[in-house]
């Protein structure tokens, strides 16, 4: 009995000690708004993310001000009118990744389930994507739609340029192993 408890404890703690964690500070998130008058694209290449491949836990933080647009004015409007960046400087994801095997080579289809917070609104989401492990590194990719009204993002009536009600978001994270 004593021995088995001992081993159980050792086993439990060892899973923690040897948990394989991945990190990136330069993940890319881009979005695309397809609208009648003007298509808008923006890219943020400074997304921070941590991924624990042992437990499947996945978190990332997107600083809204780091999105870069083809026009300076788009960026002004994005931060000031839509995202209210001073009030809500970050978007967050906190969830779990399922459906992968660390030792499998090549791209694997996975699902991320968790809480996505944008513009101060948190919603439960399920996002399909892919992951591939290669030589100790991991690459995660996903593409999904975000409806502005789900996150209480309002478009001012006076804005002439149409903005799509649904924005296509693309995620591309290249992780390095953490020590």
């Amino acid at each position: 009995m004593k021995v088995s408890v001992f081993f159980a404890v050792i086993f439990l703690s060892s899973t923690q000690v040897h948990a394989q964690k991945f990190s990136t500070e330069k993940g890319t998130i881009s979005f695309f708004s397809d609208a009648a008058i003007e298509d808008i694209t923006a890219e943020n290449t400074m997304v921070g993310s941590l991924f624990n491949s042992t437990t499947g836990e996945l978190v990332y933080i997107v600083k809204i001000k780091d999105f870069i647009f083809p026009k300076a004015l788009m960026r002004e409007h994005f931060n000031e009118k839509y995202m209210e960046t001073e009030k809500f400087p970050k978007a967050l994801f906190n969830g779990k990744l399922k459906g992968y095997n660390v030792s499998t080579k090549g791209e694997q289809n996975v699902t991320a389930t968790g809480k996505l917070t944008i513009h101060g609104v948190t919603r439960d989401v399920q996002v399909p994507g892919t992951i591939s492990f290669d030589g100790g590194k991991a690459t995660m990719k996903a593409k999904f739609m975000v409806a502005l009204k789900d996150y209480d993002i309002k478009i001012p009536k006076l804005v002439w340029q149409n903005i799509a009600e649904e924005i296509e978001v693309t995620i591309d994270f290249a992780y390095k192993p953490m020590k």
Binding site: V9, L12, G48, L73, N79, P89, L158, V159, W160
Partner: protein
């Protein structure tokens, strides 16, 4: 012994249960050391008549059309000032995110103006904390009137020039409210020394209050220091409503001046606001992106 083991097991278990939150905390703690700069302390490069701390982002060209009607107290005969018009057509361009230049043509005294504007300090919080934004402005104005063959005796070309230097200091107190002070120095090469000095100083105060995401109220006042006792001129004051629609900003203003260069509106305002010498006017801006924008702030 059993209790001891239970303790370890609980500890291990709780460690697992809170792992998720820890991962988010771990990520957050790795992200300190970030500085957030205040953006858009003011919507445009002008409050009402005078400049704001804002410079144009790199590669951005802004066309400003400013227009002032005549005085409202002109009565029905002047259609309350609407029969008269004073205009300035101007272009502002961002060479870098912090350095802008502009050029304009004014109908008042047929004046051409040119400015250079540099953002010296930026309000920020986070790793780097700084309470305000500071911009330095230098400008030259050249008046083409009077006409060459019509000048008084002794009037030289150099007398047509006037210069302005301003230190613009602004703070964005919250997303809706910003204030600015502008110590100003103006030198005019030629003046009537009975009523004014070549070197004149003023201190301006201005602000912006956002009413909705696209509509803001603005106001500015310049107080002249050490005014010549025979000066017929008044301190300038103006109120505006900014309305933003996509790439345009419409600004409807009321002010006691028709001038749109510092020489004209700070040192040569002849209207008395309280007596109804009020000019209705508007500023319309349109922004164009010329170069690629990879600006960070």
């Amino acid at each position: 012994m059993k209790r001891y083991l239970l303790g370890i097991a609980l500890l291990t278990f709780s460690g697992l249960a809170f792992a998720q939150e820890d991962l988010m905390k771990e990520l957050e703690s790795s992200q300190t050391g970030d500085t957030d700069y205040a953006f858009q302390t003011f919507k445009g490069t002008r409050i009402v008549n005078g400049h704001t701390v804002e410079t144009k982002p790199k590669g951005t060209l802004e066309f400003i059309f400013a227009h002032r009607f005549g005085e409202v107290n002109g009565g029905l005969y002047e259609l309350f000032g609407l029969d008269d018009a004073y205009v300035r057509y101007g272009l502002d361009y961002g060479i870098t995110d912090n350095l802008s230049v502009s050029y304009g043509r004014n109908s008042v005294d047929k004046t051409m103006d040119g400015y250079a504007k540099y953002k010296l300090l930026k309000q920020s919080k986070g790793a780097k904390n700084f309470p305000f934004t500071m911009t330095v402005l230098g400008g030259v104005a050249y008046r083409s009137s009077p006409k060459k063959d019509n000048v008084p005796a002794g009037f030289k070309t150099i007398d047509r020039f006037a210069y302005v230097t301003q230190l613009l200091v602004a703070r964005k107190f919250n997303p809706n409210f910003s204030m600015q002070v502008m110590p100003t120095f103006i030198h005019k090469n030629a003046v009537d020394q009975n009523i004014e000095d070549n070197d004149q100083m003023a201190i301006g105060v201005g602000g912006r209050l956002k009413v909705t995401k696209s509509v803001a109220l603005t106001s500015e006042y310049y107080y002249r220091l050490q005014v010549n006792e025979n000066s017929p001129y008044k301190n300038t004051f103006g109120i505006g409503v900014d309305i933003e629609t996509g790439g345009h900003v419409f600004q409807i203003v009321v002010t006691n001046t028709r001038g749109l260069t510092e020489r004209a509106f700070i040192t040569e305002t002849d209207g008395d606001f309280s007596e109804g010498d009020i000019h209705l006017g508007f500023n319309v801006t349109r922004t164009f992106q010329l170069g690629g924008n990879r600006s960070k702030n």
